[in-house]
Amino acid sequence: MADAKIREVFTVNGQEVTLALEANDTLLTALRNNGYTEVKNGCSEGQCGACIVQLDGRPVNSCQALALSAKKKKITTSKGIGNYARVSVIQEAYVEAGAVQCGFCIPGFIVTTDALLRENPNPSDEEIRFYLSGNLCRCTGYVKIIDAVKLAASRMKKA
């Protein structure tokens, strides 16, 4: 945002970038205003998980974090996990399992699934549900999302 007052260096998806922001911006606002529109704004209340990014590898709701508190942390969005040029195993698994309908919730799910599988490469159904408890999907009914996480886990093990 050209009229934002502060310029601050953040680490986003492994790169040091200067973001223009206000002192009272949430991390969600700061990221979206600086072009990271893969981070979605669903509820702004910490309830839906569409805005989840990783801070130092842990999924957090970017609408519930003030941006400046993240300036010394590594921020990872869904495009940091994989993008058109380098699709991740997790993104492939979501598509193949039919876990994507409108797609609005998916960036948050991808970010959370990546953190889950790094922490626990072989999660049970129960562990997947517990870990994804902050991600809501209004389309799929979750069954295929759980399938996608398990598919990604099995492919990552083989790799």
Binding site: N24, G46, P59, Q64, F130, S133
Partner: protein, 276 residues
Amino acid sequence: MLRKDLRWFFPEKPDEIPAILKNEAKAAFHAGGTSILRTKPESITALIDLGGLGWNTIRADGSAVVIGAMATFNDVIKSTASKAATFRMLQAALARAASNSVRNRITIGGSLADYAPWSDLIAPLVALEADVVYLEDGKGEKKVSVTDFIGKKLAKEKNCIREVRIPEKEIVFAVKRLARTAFEYGMFSLAVCGKYSGGAFESVAIALSGTKDRYARLAEAEKVLTGKPLSDALAREAADTIKVEFAPDVNFGAEYKANMVGVYLRDALAEIAGRK
């Protein structure tokens, strides 16, 4: 609305805090920031981020588990610092709070200072008779019981919580919360713990949070349960002593919530009796 001209401070040592508090018109501590973002107080002129002080560690010191104020709920849940049942009770209670991603953000210190009626932290801390260590006006270190910390309203703007200490003890416990769905603010939380042998409590502590007075120790029920064989009839007798007041909300009436405390207490006691 939080002010756009909010000034941020990132102290790396606690002794940097007093000068900031002195020089700023109205400074507030920033931990996870989730409550600050919910309430968005316009009066705050500066935020003091506590993330650079190394206060997120959890360790056992021989008699207590010492939990840094900046430890998140998930830091506590995942910690292997102590195997004591008292710590496991806190872990069980916090695992029910919010969602995984929110638990990665909300901290022990921020939750204690915030003291929300739906907090999953307060009931276990009260039942476990935890202590709170804080820096008075950002300076001298003080230790008080959690009930004094809450009762004397010590979570004033200038008192900075540094750590919470949970005594390491072998106890039996059960934690319950009333909510419509798993990921929802709890309407109340109930924590029951004590020394239990031969089918009876030698001592028991029962704490409830979310009431009109924010929290209560259910002393009458504790008295009924101490020293007598635990049975359904005794659990009912204990539940019948409960007199607590709630405010109604959009989901539940005040009377319903008060009734449910007795139901959940009986459930908790059945769980404890069944485990032993």
